[in-house]
């Protein structure tokens, strides 16, 4: 069953259009990785799905309903959880308070303080620290944990590895199987192709605001994806 479906979405900021006729389908329980160069429109796409940005044209359907007109607040309560670029933690709150606030979606599910602390011992360790005083990797872990606390059906992860040491990124990715164990659907943006091929069920390549290639991770080759990434050859999706 499809959880998310985008149909010919145009979106952008003011006069600047960043997405052109994007169509995308994500099945329940699937992990889709978005691949593309900086400025290709990946973050814009995630923000459009989360409702932070409303599209100029086209539609966004989630869990069988049209959510195009719904603001971000309502979409969060329906179960779309975004871990935004730059983490955007509540700096004056402690780690635990950040997580508690994350439960404000009012959704029930497997994730609560106990299960999160169980999954991420590092976050449990830091629970009484102010979020502003954490390292980059710790902040990213808390940002993911905060989104999980809302028990979303669809988790959107925007470049969790940005600016982090590889060993730290390994640790973050290590919790991904547990996160998916309950059937959580995930869309993530990742620059590292090796990592992308390791975790993704399917891959979609974004080039200059268009989706130029999609396919199951097992059926695509690195060369195909690299070509789509740089736009060096014509590819048909």
């Amino acid at each position: 069953m499809n959880l998310l479906h985008l149909d010919s979405v145009d979106a952008g900021y003011g006069d600047f259009q960043a997405l052109f006729g994007v169509g995308l389908t994500v099945a329940e329980g699937e992990l889709l990785a978005l691949v593309g160069a900086n400025g290709a429109g990946k973050t814009t796409l995630l923000r459009t799905i989360a409702g932070e940005l409303s599209p100029f044209r086209g539609s966004v359907c989630f869990a069988g309903g049209d959510v195009t007109a719904l603001p971000d607040v309502r979409r969060a309560r329906l179960g779309i959880g975004l871990v935004p670029e730059g983490r955007r933690l509540f700096g004056s709150l402690t780690v635990e308070e950040n997580l508690q606030v994350g439960a404000a979606t009012g959704r029930s599910g497997p994730w609560n303080l106990a299960t999160i602390y169980d999954l991420m011992p590092l976050v449990a360790d830091r629970r009484d620290r102010k979020a502003a005083h954490l390292s980059g990797g710790e902040q990213q872990a808390v940002a993911i944990a905060r989104a999980l606390m809302g028990n979303p059906r669809l988790l959107l992860l925007d470049e969790v590895s940005l600016g982090l040491a590889p060993v730290v990124v390994d640790r973050l990715y290590a919790s991904l199987p547990d996160i998916r164990a309950n059937g959580m659907t995930v869309v993530l943006v990742e620059q590292d192709l090796t990592r992308t091929f390791e975790v993704a069920d399917r891959i979609a390549c974004v080039l200059e605001g268009r989706i130029v290639l999609t396919g199951a991770a097992g059926e695509l080759t690195r060369d195909q994806v690299t070509a789509a990434y740089f736009g060096t050859s014509e590819v048909v999706s």
Partner: protein, 290 residues
Amino acid sequence: MNWVNALVQGILLGGIFAMAASGLSLMFGVMRIANLAHGDLMILGGYVAAACATYFGVPVWLTAVVSTVALGALGFAVQRLLLDRAMRVGEFTPLMVTFGLSVIIPNALTQMFSNDAVPLGIGALGTASIDLAPGLAIGWFPLLTLVASVFVLTGLHLFLYRTQYGRITRATSDDSRTVRLIGVDNRRVYALTTVIALGTVALAGTLYTMRQGGVTPFEGQLTVLFAFETVIIGGLGSLWGTLAGGVALGIAQSVGAQLSPDLPLLAGHVVFLLVLVFRPQGLFGKGVTA
């Protein structure tokens, strides 16, 4: 003993300033709105109480409740109808809107009640006091207001740090766009913030009116300065700083009055300016100063 008395009276006076200032501090903390009408809303709260007692025979203790509820409701309307929009229009628009309110409120009150004071008497409680020593007495009512303001500040503190809605309010203060991603409508947080701010300032205005025995329309032009001075002296973002700021301002005014009957206002302002020069972050605060 006169000086000790001035000190004690100043501390008692400071309670009202602190209670009035807490809502101002809260609105600025959550929405970055400096409410220039805060003093006039305080006086409006006093008017609601005094009018209830004078014209409708409402029991005096109940007027405080009526006033708090009425101004809380007004706060909801002001936030939804004016301030939400103002925050979208421009950086200084909320300031202009609250300034507009500060012109409307006292003039409308003058039109309705004239420039003469509307009385709000509290009978024997107004003069009852505990004699500690010759020349040193603590009035029951001023003591009651200090206790009430400690209650209000403690309540606010517990709300902000011990409840889920309080955590959400602080999160909204940190980042109003990100809370939306976890299902929090920041406009509801704003509405609640303004309801609390106006409710508490109405209670402060009612106690202020009871203490003075009545209220006149333009006193808000003074009380708004007291409230702002309290916040800056105490330091922004600290509720206990607000209490300390109120007490410091109260002592300054009361000691000033001891020096000369025409000095209390000037003494208060001078203490404020001295804090600005020598400790711009306030006594306890992190500071919003340049």
